[in-house]
Amino acid sequence: MTTSQPATLVYQRPTSFSEATTHYCPGCTHGIAHRLVAEVLDEMGLREKAIGVAPVGCAVFAYNYFNLDFVEAAHGRAPAMATGIKRVLPENTVFTYQGDGDLASIGMAEIMHAAARGENITVIFANNAIYGMTGGQMAPTTLPGMKTTSSPYGRDVELAGYPIRVSEMLATMEGAGYVVRASLHDPAHIRKAKKAIRRAFETQERGLGFAMVELLSSCPTNWKVTPNEALEFIAKQMVPAFPLGDFKVHPEIAKLRV
């Protein structure tokens, strides 16, 4: 398709991404979330000083997919590990990448206290309403009535309770500087999600406290739908249950144009 007519480069793979191919299922939005983080780190020139903390869950190999320093935390403990790293290396940009099982189930204590302490870290929270890695069990974020391998007849709220809305909860913490829920279900929302990730890193760079972006994400494999149907499920089922919004934005970040 190339012609002698000059052309501009509109998009290319971010340099904060490594050359590795990912093990994610086709169309899994973990890949989109990773790519957005890499693009933001490129644009902010943070690649050299960024340190990522990978979770347990499908994103367990995230350290292979980014072209930057990374450590691997025990299940749910990424915010605790990021706390230690940031306190020892305050000049570095420290972020965690966590799923909803990792962050809202086994790691609930760590995320709550990191926010309450106002740790100056950035948390990227991929909420796909299920435990992806282990075969699609019910998570604290599973929707009422949603079928999983451990709720084969649909989540029964009488038995298993209601989904947890993490962003709303963390936004009540004084230590939090930025708490936003975005979604990855279409190009317009992906662009907005990228801006939220940018602001979450800007919050850290300005020392304004704990920052988290919750990203409504898909798991086509365990939801047992095609990748495109999974995006539709996010739009139609997840967004109503987990409303998108800026739950807490530090005034200094609110006036920032990104």
């Binding site: 398709m1 190339t2 012609t3 002698s4 007519q5 000059p6 052309a7 501009t8 480069l9 509109v10 998009y11 290319q12 793979r13 971010p14 991404f17 191919t21 990912t22 994610y24 299922c25 086709p26 169309g27 899994c28 939005t29 973990h30 890949g31 989109i32 790519r35 890499a38 279409d186 190009p187 992906i190 662009r191 095609t226 990748p227 495109n228 995006l231």
Partner: protein, 83 residues
């Protein structure tokens, strides 16, 4: 003159998920059923004329498999020129 461009699909990364196929406003992407990637997927490819180089396909691609180019139509100097 309408904007025109093209995409390149890196078959090492493409997993044939079809998110770009659905997202493309010009409906010019399809899976190439005659090819298999090293991972065994049918890769995305430009199947028709009309790509504008808008970059929307790259916004949805979970595997950063796409590079997008747009032809220069105006006289103004773009920031990065490739041929």
């Amino acid at each position: 003159m309408p904007a025109s461009g093209w995409i390149e699909v890196d078959e090492l990364y493409c997993k044939g998920c079809e998110l770009c196929v659905t997202a493309c406003p010009k409906e010019v992407i399809a899976l190439d059923m005659d090819r298999l990637t090293p991972k065994g997927y049918h890769p995305a490819h430009l199947a028709a004329e009309g790509c504008t180089g808008c970059g929307i396909c790259a916004v949805v691609c979970p595997d950063a498999a796409l590079t997008v180019y747009r032809h220069v139509t105006q006289r103004k100097q773009p920031s990065s020129l490739v041929h």
